[in-house]
């Protein structure tokens, strides 16, 4: 192991507990939400103890300190993904980040239909029944439903990159799927259910050829591997704080600076304005344009502390550790009779979320047996119901790993699966 696991585990107080009486907690559900180290918990409580004040308003000491911490955090989180500070919009979560972009389309379209003049770049967001939006069959509901709603409102056509039987994107028809009608390609970097890591550069290159925008759902990639928006050359990146050791309730949208300033606004109100009149107003430039209302400053500061923590471990090491555990888990699961991996069954282009089925035992029952032994996994369709349908499974059991997991956790999971198999006689 590359990581100092004892030191890392000691930073996560929640992992020290027993569950169901006397079972050590084995937390294998970080793809749903990660646990938080003391450094993050302390950063949030310290903010409230020492620095809480209204950000971007007021001229007293606390307001200035809070504003300074908030904006330093923006700089820190931006640099973590290779972005400039003025390219990061804080949201509630990645779901809101994606909705912000989907609403940029529907709002620009509505304004256009009402005869309002649009900014030059805003015109790229006007869509109708002649246009297409390209997603993949692999998307989390968060990157599907906002586009379905957009389609209902504007008539824009949704198309999908299909999944192969072994859980990869089938790019054989990419030239046709990304065409002159394509307005945006919105796709997941690492699948939350299959674990597949998608070929971003190939898709982005094709999108650029036809002048389509690109949005990457980085919820499962930003926490687990080095991600650089400049290298990836994407227009938007959505990610969530709580999956990367940060608090709930804060996520981010990266948007290229020139796009961000002309994008139709989403949630409106205080703090996002330039000049306000009774009948109409003008809006701020930069991220403030999309940050209406009082922001959750303490949580942004907490996310910045999470970024510091990940940096101190090193994202290359975080990634390598995840790869090691995933490789061990695949080997061990494949040894079990009746266990079927749903998604890539090798280390080729895959990350540390592993879905599987156990023949003769429904995932809910597998999860119940694992939980009884203190092993926390997720069961169900993982907010990716169409993926389950495509892979011909009603649901799966999913184990996902992070920096605080070790091989012993995998061994415990395997032992508990065998216990369930024995109980159900399969």
């Amino acid at each position: 192991m590359l990581l100092d696991l004892d030191r890392i585990k000691s930073d996560f107080p929640i992992l020290q507990q027993k569950v169901h009486g006397n079972r050590d907690l084995v937390y294998l559900d970080s793809a749903a939400t990660s646990q938080k180290p003391n450094q993050v918990i302390d950063a949030i409580s310290d903010f409230y103890r020492t620095s809480n004040g209204g950000i971007h308003r007021g001229s007293h000491a606390l307001a200035e300190r809070a504003t300074s911490l908030f904006e330093k955090s923006r700089f820190n989180i931006a640099s973590f993904i290779g972005a400039q500070a003025n390219e990061i919009i804080f949201t509630k979560n990645a779901t809101e980040s994606i909705n912000l972009v989907a609403y940029a389309f529907s709002n620009a379209t509505s304004k256009h239909r009402n005869g309002h003049s649009l900014e030059e770049l805003e015109k790229r967001f006007v869509v109708g029944s002649e246009d297409e939006i390209l997603l993949t069959e692999m998307e989390h509901h968060a990157n599907l439903i906002p586009w379905q709603e957009l389609s209902l409102k504007t008539g824009v056509k949704l198309r999908f990159i299909p999944i192969t039987d072994d859980g990869y994107l089938d790019l054989s028809d990419l030239e046709n799927l990304i065409n002159a009608k394509t307005k945006i390609v919105s796709f997941v970097h690492q699948s939350n259910i299959l674990g597949t890591v998608n070929p971003v550069s190939e898709i982005v290159k094709r999108a650029k050829n036809v002048g389509a925008l690109t949005l990457l759902d980085g919820c499962q990639s930003v926490p687990h591997m080095p991600v650089d928006v400049v290298d990836l050359d994407i227009d938007f990146l959505a990610f969530s704080g709580h999956k990367m050791l940060g608090p709930n309730g804060v996520g981010a949208l990266y948007a290229k600076a020139e796009l961000l300033d002309q994008l139709s606004v989403f949630i409106t109100g205080g703090s996002m304005i330039e000049v306000v009149y009774l009948e109409n107003s003008t809006y701020a430039k930069g991220p403030a344009r999309f940050e209406a209302g009082t922001q959750s400053a303490a949580d942004v500061v907490g996310l910045s502390a999470a970024v510091d923590y990940l940096r101190s471990v090193g994202m290359d090491s975080v990634h390598a550790h995840g790869q090691t555990l995933t490789s061990v888990a695949l080997d061990e699961l494949n040894k079990l009779k009746g266990v079927q991996i749903v998604g890539p069954n090798s280390m080729r282009e895959r990350g540390s979320a592993i879905s599987f089925t156990v023949e003769g035992i429904h995932p809910h029952d597998v999860g119940q047996f694992l939980d009884a032994d203190g092993v926390a996994v997720r069961v169900g369709h993982h907010c990716a119901w169409p993926v389950c349908r495509r892979m011909s499974v009603p649901a799966t059991t999913r184990a996902s790993f992070y920096i605080y997991n070790e091989v012993a956790d995998i061994n415990q999971m395997v032992e508990s699966i065998q216990k369930a198999q024995k109980f159900f006689g399969v």
Binding site: P363, G380, A395, F424
Partner: protein, 148 residues
């Protein structure tokens, strides 16, 4: 954690050899209920002939929801709609009993084995899924005026 109280033998038997389950139901007459958290599904039809219910269903799901559908079938097949509603109420009460059971064990037969499920909040909805579907189907029949 006592898994035996959840997975009682009677439940496992119904899971392995379910009653009332068919390979296909008449889509036009059926109700379709899902548990959106986990994807469990049941498609169910009920027909009343001389006031007596004939139930058929197709379902996918965990052992609890599958066994629950089978036990429900045994209890409700051939009953009239008011008896079915009585069983529905009794089973709902059992699920809300937090492991304490209900006064009238006679009403529920094998379904009393599900008393353990009521101690697992995440699984109550699994056991209730078929009952919700049946209640919906019976209500539609009754309101549609085709009943009895």
């Amino acid at each position: 954690m006592n898994l035996e109280s959840l997975y009682q033998e009677i439940i496992l038997n119904h899971y392995r050899n379910p009653n009332g389950k068919v390979s296909v139901v008449d889509a036009g007459k059926s109700v379709h209920h899902v548990n959106p958290n986990c994807g469990d599904e049941i498609t169910l039809t009920v027909e009343f002939v001389d006031g007596k219910a004939h139930i058929e269903f197709v379902n996918t799901g965990c052992s609890i929801s599958q066994a629950s559908a089978s036990v429900m079938y045994d209890l409700c097949e051939g009953q009239n709609s008011s008896k079915i509603m009585e069983i529905e109420d009794g089973f709902l009460e059992l699920m809300q009993s937090r492991g304490q059971g209900i006064a009238d064990d006679d009403l529920l037969g094998d379904a009393v084995a599900f008393v353990g499920v009521s101690q697992f909040p995440a699984r109550i909805k699994c056991a209730l899924l078929p009952y919700m579907a049946l209640k919906d189907a019976v209500t539609r029949q009754t309101e549609g005026g085709t009943n009895e």
